[in-house]
C-alpha cells in the first residue's frame, strides 16, 4: 500500500523569543524540528509498511529549508520525500494549506501509485489548529479518522481499516473503508531509531521538489494569501494585569511561616475556598470511620 505522511517543519517552540520592543518573533538562530506530533504519524506509517509492504512518501509544504525535515524523515526509513514550495503558497491559512497539500497528494498518487492512507499529526505545535488534516480528508473525499490512538486492523484485500479513536469521555472503535486520512494521537507509538543504511541513503537521496505547477495545483488563486479566507489583523503581546501579584511573607520568615501566611491570605480573600476545604476534610474523616 502507498502511504503519504504529511509533516511540517516548525520552530522549536521552547526556543522562541519575542523582541521586547517591537513585539516581533526573533527567528534568528531558532532551531527547527519536525512537528513532534507528526513523528507518531510517521512511525505508524512505517510500521504499516513494514507489515503490509508498499511505500511511504513524506510530504511537506514550506520554504526550501524545509528539506531538512524531509531528509530527517528519510533517515527514519521513509522511502521518498516531496517538498512543495512556491511563493504562491506563502501566507496560506489552513484552508489554503489543505488545498495545496491535497493537490500534491493527488499528484503523488498519479506519479507513484494510488494512495491508501494519508497520515498527519493531530496538530502542529506552532499553529495548534488541528484543521489541516480534516481539510485534506474533506477535499480528497477520504474517510476521516482523527485522534487515532491505535490502528487495530488494516485489510488491504477488503479495503477495510479498524481503529481506536479518542473521543469525548471514551474511545470509539471505528471501522471504515480505504482510502482514509488518519491523524495520530501523541504517545500512540514510539519513534524508531533510524538505521545506518537509512541515514546514508537519506544523506544522498534526491528530494522531489515541486512548485505549484509541478504539483498540478489547478488554481493558484486558491493558494497562499489569496486563497486564505482568514486575515490576521493584529499581532500583539498581552497586556499585563494592572497589579502584579502580592508577595507573601517578610524577609527571614521560615517556610512554615510563609505557608501559614499564604493560607491565611487565601482564606481571607476567598472564604468559599475555606468552606469547601472544611467540607472536604470532614468528608475525608467520615470515610476513615
Amino acid at each position: 500500500m502507498h502511504i503519504v505522511v504529511c509533516i511540517k517543519q516548525v520552530p522549536d517552540s521552547a526556543q522562541i523569543r519575542v523582541h521586547p520592543v517591537t513585539n516581533t518573533i526573533m527567528r534568528q538562530g531558532v532551531p527547527t524540528i519536525i512537528n513532534p506530533y507528526d513523528l507518531f504519524a510517521l512511525e505508524e506509517a512505517l510500521r504499516l509498511r513494514d507489515r503490509l509492504g508498499g511505500e511511504v512518501t513524506v510530504l511537506t509544504m514550506g520554504p526550501p529549508m524545509a528539506e531538512d525535515s524531509l531528509r530527517k524523515a528519510l533517515t527514519f526509513g521513509a522511502d521518498r520525500a516531496v517538498l512543495l514550495t512556491d511563493r504562491f503558497f506563502a501566507g496560506s491559512d489552513t484552508l489554503a494549506t489543505s488545498y495545496a497539500l491535497s493537490s500534491a497528494i493527488k499528484k503523488i498518487g498519479e506519479t507513484w501509485g494510488p494512495v491508501g492512507i494519508v497520515f498527519a499529526g493531530k496538530q502542529t505545535i506552532d499553529g495548534d489548529t488541528a484543521q489541516v488534516g480534516p481539510g485534506i480528508a474533506t477535499r480528497m473525499g477520504f474517510n476521516q479518522l482523527t485522534y487515532v490512538a491505535a490502528i487495530c486492523d488494516v485489510d488491504t484485500e477488503k479495503g477495510i481499516v479498524e481503529v481506536e479513536r479518542r473521543a469525548e469521555g471514551g474511545v470509539q472503535v471505528l471501522q471504515t473503508k480505504l482510502p482514509v486520512l488518519i491523524t495520530m494521537l501523541e504517545g500512540s507509538n514510539e519513534m524508531r531509531r533510524g538505521s545506518l543504511t537509512s541515514a546514508l541513503r537519506a544523506a544522498n537521496a534526491e528530494i522531489t521538489t515541486w512548485n505549484a505547477e509541478a504539483a498540478g495545483v489547478p488554481d493558484v488563486q486558491s493558494c497562499g494569501l489569496r486563497g486564505s479566507p482568514t486575515v490576521v489583523k493584529r499581532v500583539f503581546a498581552p497586556t499585563p494585569r494592572a497589579e502584579r501579584a502580592e508577595e507573601i511573607g517578610k524577609p527571614g520568615m521560615s517556610f512554615e511561616e510563609l505557608a501559614d501566611a499564604a493560607m491565611d491570605e487565601i482564606f481571607a480573600r476567598h472564604p468559599t475556598v475555606e468552606a469547601d476545604l472544611r467540607e472536604f476534610a470532614a468528608g475525608q474523616q467520615e470515610e476513615w470511620r
Binding site: I25, I125, D128, V132, A167, Q172, P229, V232, A262, I266
Partner: protein, 366 residues
C-alpha cells in the same frame, strides 16, 4: 502544515480575504449559531459556555442566537433544546435521525453544512473538543470559509465582523483573526475558556426541525463499540475547584510528588506545564495551558511555573492564583494574585503541612 497565525499581518490588497465589500450573496447571512455537543444523554458544558458568549455577540449585532442540536433521539433533543433556551438561545435547530446516534464525521458534517446552507448564519461557534475539532475542519472546508481555532476572546468590531483572538507562535503572542469576505465566520473555543452563563429557569424559545436526508448505507464509517473512560480525570481537571500544578522549577520528575501530596490534602486535581509533558514527567491529559486543559478553579497553585503566555491563557479564568517561584521577575507574577518568592521544593511541603494542620485542628475543634 501552515496555519493562519503563522502569517504576519499583511497590508490590504492582494489577498482575497482583504477585499473591502462583503460579496452580495453573503449579505443575507444573519444570526449567531452555536453547535451543541450532545452525546451520551448530556450537553457538553463547553456548548453552554459558548451560548453565554454567543448571547453577547448576538446582542451586540442585534440578531438571534441559535443552538444546533443533532442526534439520534428526538425526545432527548427536545429536552436538551430547553436547556439551550435557559442558557440564552432564542431558538434551536434540530436534526433527529437514528444515523446521528453516535458521532461520525460524515453525517454530522452533512447535517451542519445543510443547516448553514439553508438558514445562513453569520457566525458559527463550536467547542474545541475532540468532536468539535474533528467536525469544524470538515465543515469549514466544505463551506470554503474561514475557521479560527482555540479562541480565547471573541468580539464584534465596528464593521460587524467577528474578531477572534487566539495565542500564536507557540503561545508567545496573541493575534486577532477575521474572516472578512466569507460566511459563516467560524471559530472554536476550548472548554472552560468562557464562563458558564447563569441559567435562567423557565426561559423558552422556538424549535426549527430539519431532515438529515441520508441513509445508513450512504455512510462508510461504522461505530463498532464505545469504550467509556473508567478514569474521567479529563473532565475533573478542567472543572476542578482547586488545582495544584508544577513546572520545570521542580527540577526532577520525582519532585512532582510534592505537587500530588498538596493536591491530595486539598482534594484538588493536579497538572503541569507543557515542558513536563514533553519531558514525560506527566501524561498529556494533565497538561494545563493553551494546548492542554483550560481551567477556571477557585484556587490555582502554580509551583515552579514561569508562566509563558500559552500557560497563562489556560489559567486566567481562575478566581485566585498563587504562584511559587524563585524568580521575582517570572512572567507568572504578572497575572498571579499572590506570590511566594521561594523554592517550590521547600514551599510545597510546608503548604501541605500547613493545610493539613489547619484542617485537622478545625476537625477536632468541630
Amino acid at each position: 502544515m501552515t496555519d493562519a497565525p503563522q502569517k504576519k499581518p499583511q497590508p490590504a490588497g492582494g489577498r482575497a480575504g482583504m477585499r473591502k465589500e462583503l460579496p452580495e450573496h453573503f449579505k443575507a447571512y444573519r444570526h449567531v449559531w452555536v453547535f451543541i455537543e450532545y452525546e451520551h444523554g448530556a450537553i457538553h458544558p463547553v456548548s453552554l459556555e459558548l451560548l453565554g458568549e454567543g448571547r453577547k455577540l448576538a446582542d451586540k449585532l442585534g440578531v438571534e442566537l441559535a443552538g444546533l442540536l443533532v442526534g439520534g433521539d428526538r425526545e432527548e433533543l427536545l429536552a436538551a433544546a430547553g436547556e439551550c433556551w435557559e442558557h440564552g438561545a432564542d431558538l434551536t435547530y434540530l436534526i433527529a435521525d437514528p444515523i446521528l446516534e453516535h458521532y461520525r464525521n460524515q453525517p454530522y458534517t452533512k447535517a451542519l453544512t445543510d443547516l448553514v446552507n439553508t438558514f445562513k448564519p453569520e457566525i458559527l461557534l463550536l467547542g474545541a473538543t475532540t468532536l468539535g475539532r474533528d467536525l469544524a475542519g470538515s465543515v469549514a472546508t466544505t463551506l470554503a470559509t474561514g475557521l479560527t481555532a482555540d479562541c480565547t476572546e471573541l468580539a464584534i468590531d465596528d464593521e460587524r465582523s467577528l474578531a477572534a483572538t487566539r495565542p500564536t507562535f507557540g503561545g508567545s503572542l496573541l493575534c486577532t483573526i477575521h474572516t472578512l469576505n466569507f460566511r459563516p465566520q467560524m471559530a472554536t473555543v476550548r472548554p472552560r475558556v468562557m464562563a458558564m452563563p447563569q441559567r435562567e429557569a423557565g426561559r423558552t424559545g422556538r424549535v426549527v426541525e430539519h431532515p438529515l436526508d441520508m441513509r445508513e448505507e450512504d455512510i462508510v464509517t461504522k461505530v463498532l463499540r464505545f469504550i467509556a473512560d473508567r478514569d474521567s480525570n479529563e473532565v475533573q481537571l478542567a472543572y476542578a475547584d482547586i488545582v495544584v500544578a508544577g513546572g520545570l522549577g521542580l527540577r526532577s520528575a520525582e519532585n512532582f510528588q510534592l505537587v500530588k501530596d498538596l493536591a491530595r490534602v486539598l482534594g484538588a486535581e493536579y497538572g503541569g506545564s507543557r515542558p513536563l509533558v514533553q519531558k514525560g514527567w506527566i501524561t498529556s491529559d494533565r497538561q494545563i495551558g493553551q494546548t492542554g486543559k483550560t481551567i477556571r478553579p477557585k484556587l490555582y497553585i502554580a509551583a515552579g511555573i514561569s508562566g509563558a503566555i500559552q500557560h497563562r491563557v489556560g489559567v486566567e479564568g481562575a478566581d485566585m492564583i498563587l504562584a511559587i517561584n524563585t524568580d521575582p521577575n517570572a512572567p507568572i507574577l504578572d497575572f498571579a494574585h499572590l506570590a511566594i518568592v521561594a523554592d517550590a521544593l521547600e514551599v510545597l511541603p510546608a503548604l501541605t503541612r500547613a493545610f493539613s494542620r489547619r484542617l485537622s485542628v478545625n476537625r477536632l475543634a468541630g
